[in-house]
């Protein structure tokens, strides 16, 4: 059963340990400081918030969806300066 302890340490201690180290790195990098900005980081001027980017072939792409609830207060993502 001594192998079991190697396995136990390898998988159950080292892996979460590395995850904790990565978490500390992220904390220090300030990754958790501007969460809402990060959520917007996938949008830009080419593909802004409020514009759909997919449809069946032959349909109209980039149509604005009909507003079903009050529009998002943040209308445009703020891009980091180039």
């Amino acid at each position: 059963m001594s192998v079991l302890w190697i396995l136990f340490v390898c998988s159950l201690v080292v892996l979460p340990g590395i995850a904790l180290l990565a978490f500390r790195w992220a904390m220090r990098q300030g990754e958790f400081r501007h969460l809402e900005k990060t959520a917007l980081s996938i949008f830009d001027d080419d593909e802004p918030v409020g514009q759909t980017t997919d449809c069946f072939p032959g349909g109209q792409r980039g149509k604005k969806p009909a507003p079903t609830r009050p529009p998002n207060p943040i209308s445009r993502p703020r891009l980091p300066e180039a």
Partner: protein, 494 residues
């Protein structure tokens, strides 16, 4: 190699490199840079998908029709089933996952694909490794260890190929031009790091220098469960977190929750595998720890579920117009369902009944197919037109694909969960015989469910054919468009 690629040496220490100071790349530029490697990886994965589905159908038919093709040793159940598993897991799913990861990494880092040749070399080695592995399994050379059947002479090829991809991932990450790390990137980076860890640990402990006794089972299930949870799940979730907001043009419902979801998965998931050994000759505390960790998975599952479903809330009409969204939402809903079901299956009282039944198979297909594969289909539908700059040729083929695989997998999973549970209840009941010519037995009870599975498999195969035709057609269209454009420029010159 891309003209903008820095040298590998510069890539190792990019800190004082002028590349970093460059603007974020334009999306179209990023998409175009991914074209070659993605075409290669996706073509490979679709071929493996068809091959794997044929093996799956054979295996399924043999379960209720044992004489079918029984006189060919290469096509016996014991070889066809692992051939199916390895073809779809390593051939189809991993290759598609690698392709989608590349594209997402490039887009999220805002950098064009650097060192395309690393990826192409990795792709060639990966396909070579899987081909040798699957042929070896059919020839009777399987290791006999579930999820690791590929014999030891093929695995190093897979590992080298994988290492190339992981190195590429690290380089791309270091050259990122985007300040913020989006949640998808966390998942992708983690998956790139976790897979080699679990794969090499399991290979060493099970194949190269095998441990003895029941510990083998422990290592085996630690690996098999983590392939799902630490390799496929993160890539699937990364895709959903990117594509649903992207397609809707709407940021994710609650970003802080997504961060919580990622870190709780990173901390708890790895402990889950032992719940497959409930009732086995293992230290009880080990299994209990695993069950506790499985129940703790409710935190990441619920946070991810809230985010996916509430981002969709109010936008369901988009499902009518967007094929990508259909696949993604189907995958997201399946993820919530399959995870909650899995948590229930980990409990001792439930496992007692469902263990060693078809219910487990239904559960794994719900995770690997209804969640992961559907998400990969959606991602490929989004990526290909952008990479090739050509639209999908036929909306009808996409609809056929979606409905065939969606109905097919529902018809697969739910009857089989019911059938497996009934099977388990019959097996724990001493009055029901296992096989009997006259009386109802465990075998006769499961037969209708097994037949349903074969029918659903045929439906799924039909969907895959539609997908493969679509894919071949769009590549053809792209080739023709390129030829036309070249013809036009040469005519203009004349």
């Amino acid at each position: 190699m891309n003209a903008a690629s820095p040298s590998i040496l510069a890539a190792l220490s990019p800190s004082d490199n002028e590349e970093l100071a460059q603007r974020r790349a334009v999306l179209a530029e990023i998409d175009a840079s991914c074209r070659g490697p993605l075409l290669f990886l996706f073509s490979g994965s679709i071929i493996w998908l068809l091959v794997g589905t044929v093996f799956a159908l054979l295996a399924s038919l043999k379960l209720h029709n044992p004489e079918y093709l029984a006189n060919y040793s290469w096509l016996t159940f014991g070889r066809v089933r692992p051939a199916h598993l390895n073809a779809v897991i390593y051939g189809f799913a991993s290759e598609a996952a690698i392709g989608v990861t590349l594209w997402l990494m490039c887009r999220l880092c805002r950098t064009p694909l650097l060192f395309g040749w690393i990826i192409n070399a990795a792709g060639v080695f990966w396909n070579l490794g899987v081909t040798i592995g699957v042929v070896a399994i059919l020839a009777g050379d399987s290791t006999g260890i579930e999820w690791l059947e590929i014999p030891p002479y093929a695995t190093p090829i897979l590992f080298v190929s994988y290492a190339l991809i992981a190195v590429w991932g690290v380089i791309t990450f270091r050259f990122r031009r985007e300040k913020h790390l989006y949640v998808s990137q966390w998942y992708l980076l983690a998956a790139l790091f976790w897979f080699p860890w679990i794969y090499s640990a399991a290979q060493i402990l099970l194949v190269l220098d095998p441990v003895r006794g029941t510990v083998q089972a422990a290592v085996n299930w630690w690996f098999a469960h983590n392939v799902l949870g630490l390799w496929f799940t993160p890539i699937g979730l990364a895709s959903i977190y990117y594509f649903i907001p992207k397609v809707l043009g709407k940021p994710v419902y609650n970003y802080s929750l997504s961060v919580l979801g990622f870190w709780s998965l990173a901390l708890f998931y790895n402990w889950n595998g032992m719940h497959h050994l409930v009732g086995g000759p293992m230290p009880a505390w080990l299994i209990t720890v695993s069950i506790v960790a499985s129940v703790m998975m409710t935190i990441p599952v619920i946070t991810v579920g809230i985010n996916h479903h509430l981002t969709m809330w109010g936008s369901f009409r988009e499902l009518k117009t967007s094929p990508v969204l259909r696949f993604m939402v189907f995958g997201g809903m399946s993820y919530t369902l399959t995870s909650l079901h899995g948590i229930a299956l980990a409990l001792r009282s439930v496992s007692e009944v469902t263990h060693f039944t078809h219910s487990t198979i239904a559960h794994s297909h719900q995770g690997m197919y209804a969640f992961f594969t559907m998400v990969m289909f959606g991602a490929i539908y989004y990526i290909m037109p952008r990479v090739l700059q050509v639209d999908w040729p036929s909306a009808r083929l996409i609809r056929v694909h979606f409905w065939a695989v969606a109905i097919g997998i529902l018809l697969y999973v739910f009857p089989l969960i019911v059938g497996g549970t009934l099977e388990g209840m019959a097996m724990t009941n001493p009055d029901v015989p296992f096989v009997d010519a006259v009386k109802p037995s465990v075998v006769s009870l499961t037969l209708p469910y097994l037949k349903t599975r074969s029918y659903s498999g045929m439906l799924i195969f039909l969907g895959h054919l539609a997908f493969a035709i679509s894919f071949g057609w769009i590549v053809l269209r792209w080739a023709q468009a390129g030829r036309l454009a070249r013809l036009k420029t040469s005519l203009a010159r004349v």
